[in-house]
C-alpha cells in the first residue's frame, strides 16, 4: 500500500487515513519520541533480540484507572517495565495551597475514591495539630466507626477486582453489593455515597442518626456470614489459589526498603500497623489484632486483607458499645489562622500509611500541603515484582498491591 495523496484522483477527505500517511505503515515510531533523560530510561527503551514493547493502558481493562505501563516482553514473559503516571494528575497539593483550611478538606476526598474517609483524616489531623485542637471523644469514636466501615467497603472492592483481574466475573458484583450497602449506610451518615467530606477540623460534620444506626445494625447482623459466603468462591478455588500462591513474592527486608506499608507490608511478616505502632485517635482503647502472614506473595496479601475485614468488624462492634456521649465538634472560630508551624499526621488506611505534612505561614491557607499516599509507593514496587512473570501474572501482581490511581496521581 504505497498510496500518496498526489497520485489520487478526486477529493481528499480529512477522514481518509491515506491522506495522513505518506510512508508505508509498519515501522513504529521510536518510543519515546524524545532523547532518553536518564540511563535507566535509555536502558529500558533499548530492545534486545526477540523483545518487544507492549502498552498496558492508559485504556486497559485491568489497570485500575488511567495508568500506563510500558511492558518489555519476550514472548509472554515480562522482562522489564516502566510505569507512566500523570494521566489523572490534578495538582491537589497546589489547589490546597490556594484554598483555606476548611476548603482544603474537600480536595482530599477524591484522592482515593474508594476509601475517601482515609484521605480526609490525615489532613484534618494535621490541621488540628497546627491549631492545637482537642477533638471530642465522641467525634473520635464516630471517626473510627465510619472509617472502619469504609475500610471494609474498600477491601470488599479489592477482592472483587482481584478476582476480575484473574478472569472471574462474579465476585466483583457480589462485593459491589456488599460495598453498596456500606456506602448507602455512610451516605445516610455523611450525605454522600462516595466523596463523603465528613471530617471537619475539630470533629465531624454530623452526629449519628437513626437511619444510619438502623442500617448499620441490620448489616452487622449478617455481615460476617455474608462475607464468609462470598469469599468461599475464591478461597477454596484451586485455580485461584494456584495462580496466586508464590506469585510476586517479597521479603520483609525488601518491603521496608521499598517503603511499603499497610497490608502489603504485613503480608511479608512485619507487624507494622500505625494504629498500634503510632497510636492516634482512640485506637489505644480498642482491642484488635494485627493480622500478618510471612509468605509475602499475592495470596498472603489477599488473605491479610480478609483478616483485616474481620478485625474491622470487631472494631466497629467495640465502637458501638463504647460510644461516649458529648459534643461532636470542638469550639473553633470560623476563620482559622493557625500560628506558623509544621505538622505531620499519619494514619493507617486500607492500603497503608496515609499522611499529610502541612506548613502554616500564619494565614488562613496552608503554605504547603504534602499528601502522602500509599498507592504511589506500592505501585512503584511492581517494577520489582513483575519481571520474570507472565503478562497474566503481571495483572495479578498489580491487583494484589491494590493501587488506586486517584491517589497515585495526586
Amino acid at each position: 500500500m504505497t498510496t500518496t495523496t498526489r497520485g489520487r484522483k478526486g477529493h481528499a477527505s480529512a477522514d481518509d487515513p491515506r491522506v495522513m500517511l505518506d510512508e508505508q505503515i509498519g515501522v513504529f515510531e521510536p518510543i519515546p519520541p524524545y532523547p532518553p533523560r536518564t540511563e535507566r530510561e535509555a536502558e529500558f527503551y533499548t530492545l534486545r533480540d526477540g523483545e518487544m514493547f507492549i502498552n498496558i493502558g492508559p485504556q486497559h481493562p485491568s489497570t485500575h484507572g488511567v495508568l500506563r505501563i510500558v511492558l518489555k516482553i519476550d514472548g509472554e514473559n515480562v522482562v522489564d517495565l516502566d510505569p507512566v503516571l500523570g494521566y489523572l494528575h490534578r495538582g491537589v497539593e497546589k489547589l490546597c495551597e490556594n484554598a483555606d483550611y476548611h476548603q482544603a478538606i474537600c480536595y482530599l476526598d477524591p484522592l482515593e475514591y474508594v476509601s475517601s474517609l482515609f484521605c480526609e483524616w490525615p489532613g484534618v489531623m494535621a490541621f488540628e495539630k497546627l491549631l492545637d485542637v482537642e477533638v471530642p471523644r465522641r467525634a473520635e469514636y464516630i471517626r473510627v466507626l465510619s472509617s472502619e466501615l469504609n475500610r471494609v467497603a474498600s477491601h470488599a472492592l479489592f477482592m472483587g477486582w482481584m478476582a476480575l483481574d484473574l478472569g472471574g466475573l462474579t465476585p466483583i458484583l457480589w462485593s459491589f453489593i456488599e460495598r453498596d450497602e456500606i456506602v448507602e449506610m455512610l451516605a445516610s451518615l455523611t450525605g454522600q455515597r462516595m466523596l463523603f467530606n465528613y471530617f471537619r477540623i475539630g470533629g465531624v460534620n454530623g452526629d449519628l442518626n437513626h437511619e444510619f444506626m438502623s442500617r448499620l445494625g441490620e448489616w452487622m447482623s449478617r455481615a460476617t456470614t455474608q462475607i464468609e459466603a462470598n469469599i468461599g468462591l475464591l478461597n477454596e478455588n484451586e485455580i485461584f489459589v494456584r495462580r496466586m500462591r508464590g506469585l510476586g513474592t517479597m521479603d520483609s527486608e525488601t518491603a521496608l526498603r521499598m517503603c511499603m506499608s499497610g497490608p502489603n507490608l504485613r503480608a511479608t511478616g512485619v507487624p507494622f500497623d500505625l494504629r498500634r505502632a503510632h497510636p492516634y485517635s482512640v485506637f489505644p482503647e480498642l482491642e484488635f489484632d494485627i493480622p500478618t502472614r510471612t509468605e509475602g506473595d499475592c495470596l498472603a496479601r489477599y488473605l491479610v486483607r480478609l483478616e483485616e475485614v474481620k478485625q474491622s468488624l470487631k472494631i466497629i462492634d467495640q465502637c458501638l458499645n463504647n460510644m461516649p456521649d458529648g459534643p461532636i465538634m470542638a469550639k473553633l472560630p470560623r476563620l482559622l489562622r493557625p500560628r506558623p508551624g509544621r505538622a505531620y499526621a499519619g494514619i493507617e488506611g486500607p492500603r497503608g500509611q496515609y499522611a499529610a505534612y502541612v506548613v502554616s505561614d500564619g494565614t488562613d491557607q496552608p503554605f504547603r500541603m504534602r499528601i502522602h499516599d500509599p498507592s504511589y509507593l506500592h505501585l512503584q514496587s511492581v517494577g520489582l515484582l513483575m519481571p520474570g512473570h507472565l503478562i497474566a501474572d503481571a495483572m495479578a501482581v498489580m491487583a494484589s498491591l491494590d493501587p488506586i490511581m486517584g491517589g497515585v496521581d495526586k
Binding site: G10, I25, I54, P61, S62, G167, G168, I239, R242
Partner: protein, 447 residues
C-alpha cells in the same frame, strides 16, 4: 461520454461491482429459465436418482439457518444466567424477560460501520472471521440431532469433526496476525498453542470409546446407546468423558480456558481490532462452537437422542384420518367451536363479572393450548424424530448451561498452567484410559 465517466467515477467500489454484475445476472437468469424450461424433466430425473445431492444442499442450508438462532439463544442464556448468578437481573427490557436482547445485538453489529483499521492486512483481516465461522458451522453437519435428522452420515464422522474443529485455529491465527496489533498477535498465538495442545487429549480420550463402539460414524454411535440410560458410554468411559469435557472446554475457548480473549490481560485477544459484523462472526462462531461441543459430548457420551429410559410399551399409532371421509371435514369445522364453547362455559358461569366475550377468549386460548399439547404429545409418541430432537436439545442445553455456569464461577488459568495441564495430566490420563479400555476389551470380549 464524460457524463457517463463522471457517473462511473462517483460510484463506490461496491456500486461498481454491482453495476457490472447486474447485466450478467440478468443474462444468467434468463439462461437459467431457459434451461429449466428445456431440460426440466431431465434435471428432475437426475435429482431423483441422486437424492444425496438434494439432501446435502438442504442440510447445508438448514445448518446455516439454525446456527444464527442457536447463537442468539446461547448469547441470551449467557447474559441471563451469569447475571442471575451475579445476583443481578440481567437483560429485561427487550422482549419477554429481555430475550430479544441478543437479537438486538445481532442487528446492532449488522448496522455498524464495516471498518478496518489502518495498517491491517485487508484480505486476511476480512477472511479470518469467515474462516472461523465456516469451520464452526461445518462441524454442525455431522451432528445427529435425531433419528434420520442429520446433515451427513460419514463413516468417519468423528474424524471429520476433529479436522474441521482444527481449522478454526487457522482463522484465529489469521485474525491475530493480520490485525496489526500486539494484543491480537498474542491472542492468536495463544489460541494456536492452546487449541493444538488440547487437540491431542481431545482425540485420544475418545479412542477408548471408538474401541467400544467399533465405528466412527456419529449416527452409529448414537444408535449403539439406545435403550435405558445405563447403555450410555459415559458409564463405560467416565474418565474419557471427563477428559473430553475439559479438553472440549479448552477447544471452545471457554472459561477457565479463555486465554485467547482474556480481557484483563490482552484486551480482547485476536478480536481487539474487529468491529461490526466481522466481530459478529467471531462472536457467533464462539457460541455456535459451544453448542457444537455440547452436542458432541451428548452424542458421544450421553446417549445422543435417546431418552434416558426405554419407552415401556410398544407404540403403534396407526392414525388414518382419511378413513373418516367427509366426517373429517365436519370434525375440523365443528370440534373447535364446540370445544371453545365448552371451555368458555365454566368461566362464564363462575362469575357474573366476566363478560361473555372474555369467557370466549379464555376458552379459545385454553382450547389452543390443549390442542397444541395434544399435537406435541402425539408427535412425541408417534414421530421418533420429534422425541429424539427433544431429548437431544434438552441434553445439549444442559451442557451449554454448564459451560455458562463455569464462566460465571471460575477464574482463568495461566498459560503455563494450561499447557502443563494438557501435557502432564490430560495426555497421560487419556492414554491410561485407552490402555485400560483396550485391556478390558481383550479380557472380556476377545475376538
Amino acid at each position: 461520454m464524460t457524463a457517463m465517466a463522471r457517473t462511473w467515477g462517483r460510484l463506490t467500489l461496491a456500486g461498481k461491482v454491482i453495476f457490472t454484475l447486474l447485466p450478467i445476472l440478468a443474462i444468467l437468469t434468463i439462461g437459467l429459465i431457459a434451461v429449466v424450461v428445456l431440460f426440466g424433466g431431465a434435471i428432475l430425473d437426475f435429482l431423483t436418482t441422486n437424492l444425496w445431492l438434494v439432501r446435502f444442499v438442504v442440510a447445508i442450508t438448514a445448518v446455516l439457518l439454525m446456527s444464527i438462532p442457536t447463537a442468539f439463544l446461547i448469547i441470551y442464556m449467557e447474559m441471563k444466567v451469569i447475571a442471575l448468578m451475579n445476583l443481578r437481573i440481567g437483560p429485561d427490557r427487550v422482549g419477554p424477560f429481555g430475550s430479544l436482547l441478543s437479537v438486538v445485538h445481532g442487528l446492532k453489529v449488522l448496522m455498524k460501520e464495516d471498518f478496518s483499521p489502518t495498517g491491517v492486512d485487508r484480505i486476511v483481516f476480512t477472511l479470518a472471521p469467515i474462516v472461523v465461522f465456516m469451520a464452526t458451522v461445518m462441524a454442525l453437519l455431522v451432528i445427529p440431532f435425531a433419528p434420520g435428522l442429520f446433515g451427513q452420515d460419514f463413516n468417519i464422522g468423528l474424524l471429520y469433526f476433529f479436522a474441521i474443529g482444527g481449522m478454526s485455529v487457522v482463522g484465529l491465527l489469521m485474525a491475530g496476525w493480520s490485525s496489526f496489533n500486539k494484543y491480537s498477535l498474542l491472542g492468536g498465538l495463544r489460541s494456536a498453542a492452546q487449541v493444538i495442545s488440547y487437540e491431542i487429549p481431545l482425540t485420544l480420550s475418545v479412542v477408548g470409546l471408538l474401541l467400544l463402539a467399533g465405528t466412527m460414524s456419529l449416527n452409529q454411535i448414537a444408535l449403539n446407546q439406545s435403550g435405558w440410560f445405563t447403555s450410555w458410554y459415559v458409564f463405560q468411559q467416565p474418565l474419557g468423558a471427563l477428559i473430553f469435557f475439559i479438553a472440549a472446554t479448552a477447544e471452545a475457548n471457554r472459561t477457565p480456558f479463555d486465554l485467547t480473549e482474556a480481557d484483563s490481560e490482552i484486551v480482547a485477544g485476536f478480536a481487539t481490532e474487529y468491529s461490526g459484523m466481522r466481530f459478529g462472526f467471531f462472536f457467533f462462531a464462539e457460541y455456535v462452537n459451544v453448542f457444537v461441543v455440547s452436542a458432541l459430548i451428548v452424542t458421544l457420551f450421553f446417549g445422543a437422542w435417546n431418552a434416558p429410559f426405554a419407552w415401556p410399551w410398544p407404540v403403534a399409532l396407526n392414525l388414518d384420518p382419511g378413513s373418516l371421509g367427509i366426517g373429517l371435514l365436519i370434525l375440523i369445522a365443528i370440534v373447535p367451536v364446540i370445544a371453545t364453547l365448552l371451555l368458555a362455559a365454566p368461566f362464564w358461569l363462575a362469575s357474573s363479572r366476566v363478560k361473555g366475550w372474555q369467557a370466549l377468549v379464555m376458552g379459545f386460548v385454553l382450547f389452543n393450548l390443549l390442542a397444541g399439547a395434544a399435537i406435541v404429545g402425539i408427535a412425541y409418541i408417534g414421530l421418533d424424530w420429534v422425541a429424539g430432537l427433544f431429548w437431544f436439545l434438552g441434553k445439549t442445553y444442559v451442557f451449554v448451561f454448564t459451560f455458562v455456569w463455569m464462566r460465571g464461577t471460575l477464574p482463568r488459568v495461566r498459560i503455563d498452567q494450561l499447557m502443563g495441564f494438557a501435557w502432564k495430566w490430560l495426555l497421560p490420563a487419556s492414554l491410561l484410559n485407552l490402555f485400560v479400555t483396550a485391556a478390558a476389551i481383550a479380557v472380556v470380549a476377545p475376538r
